[in-house]
Symmetry: C2
Subunit: 271 residues, 2 copies
Amino acid sequence: MTFLEKLDGIWKKNDSMVCVGLDPDLDKLPACLKSLEFPIFEFNRQIIDATSDLVCAYKPQAAYYAGQNADDQLKMTIAYIREKHPEIPVILDVKRGDIGSTAQMYAREAFERYQADAVTLNPYMGFDTLKPFLDHAESGVIILCRTSNPSSCELQELVCGGRTIFEHVAVLARDKWNYNKNVLLVIGATFPEELGRIRKLCPEMPFLVPGVGAQGGDVKKVIENGAAADGFGLVINSSRGIIYADGTENFAAASRKAALKLRATINESKS
Amino acid sequence: MTFLEKLDGIWKKNDSMVCVGLDPDLDKLPACLKSLEFPIFEFNRQIIDATSDLVCAYKPQAAYYAGQNADDQLKMTIAYIREKHPEIPVILDVKRGDIGSTAQMYAREAFERYQADAVTLNPYMGFDTLKPFLDHAESGVIILCRTSNPSSCELQELVCGGRTIFEHVAVLARDKWNYNKNVLLVIGATFPEELGRIRKLCPEMPFLVPGVGAQGGDVKKVIENGAAADGFGLVINSSRGIIYADGTENFAAASRKAALKLRATINESKS
């Protein structure tokens, strides 16, 4: 089954466009986990078990594992999801981008070493740096378009030939890069008007939408501007708002409550 | 000592702008190393010892270690350079780019976990994603500007307000991002004319120049267009041309010959 088929199935099965970002910072983990051999994995595992009927994807952010010398716990986390919840796709958030021979090695990292279903990529270097990933037809390739952070304006909003750079990315993604029908775009919830413009350019392409919760994106505006014709089409990520909903030993139950609430807010916005 | 001070010292001490890219592919290593416990480290170690008086930097490409489950050998390689050849800076080629809290974790990966002197970054997401690295005043921050690969034209050549996107990056780097005087730019040897344009915009900024050797960049044109007023100012990377100069047990001696030849070609082009 391809990533997009998996995503389409779980959107409907769980009636959810919620993606939980697994960005565990050791300094923020509940005290009860800190003495364990694999505290990050245990934190993730409990959150996964508490939310698996409420989400459409999990998105581990590679930096948290690389920066904390916890590559093994990233591998354990993805293996756990694939074993216990094989219907839920895993997006490895790496935002890689490099020349062809090097990109091949990054594709091995994402799809072989970590067994992710999809990966995020940076488009600045262009097609030949994306191709080693795009050629994995069964995998999702999620390309940065309009990112959620304030400084995304510096380059992404520059206008060339009547189109912003982020619109150029959307058009390249639609017309050139999507030959295996496995491309998605990243569009920040903090820019709902731009989200609407990109939805018009790419009516059927799924979007990964970070920036609700801690970053301030408005869910109702995201749905109004970004949902596809069938009411789905979005993977709406929340990391801190869900995984740190409660800093005590009740973190897993609290993450469930937060995921339930986000799903409800999304689904109410659809009607 | 800062990265740029270290670079300036070694340019002159070794009379060299050669950077050796440590991009070890297990499939291409000499047969004599393949049964070792740490074949990648041993390959790197012998190349480092054979070339340390001929180079201005080593540049391990993180993808080769991440894709081959060899993070430990990346760490061993950088530790070895820092111990045996502390005057030679290490550039960790990661091309990261992510929002602030995540970028902090990537900065920990590069500067704490791996102890690199400098790191490569992708500018697509803008200033706030670069800042966690720029704030490390002693470290080098090497930002993609005009990359060496063929598809770099797709976005980097788009023209906005009379300037290409890569020129916008150069101007942002010069005027906004360089508040700690630790910024460098990546400009591919395959685009010598563009290299000249960026040198005019940024007369004193050092450039990392990949793309000579296997990618076809012309050293003479690189020097003519890119050298700074003092004849230095460039970190000219060769990976495959040096590390795979010979596929047998003579690989280290061959890498020395190849580095000597590249240094001579560069230095002849200066006069």
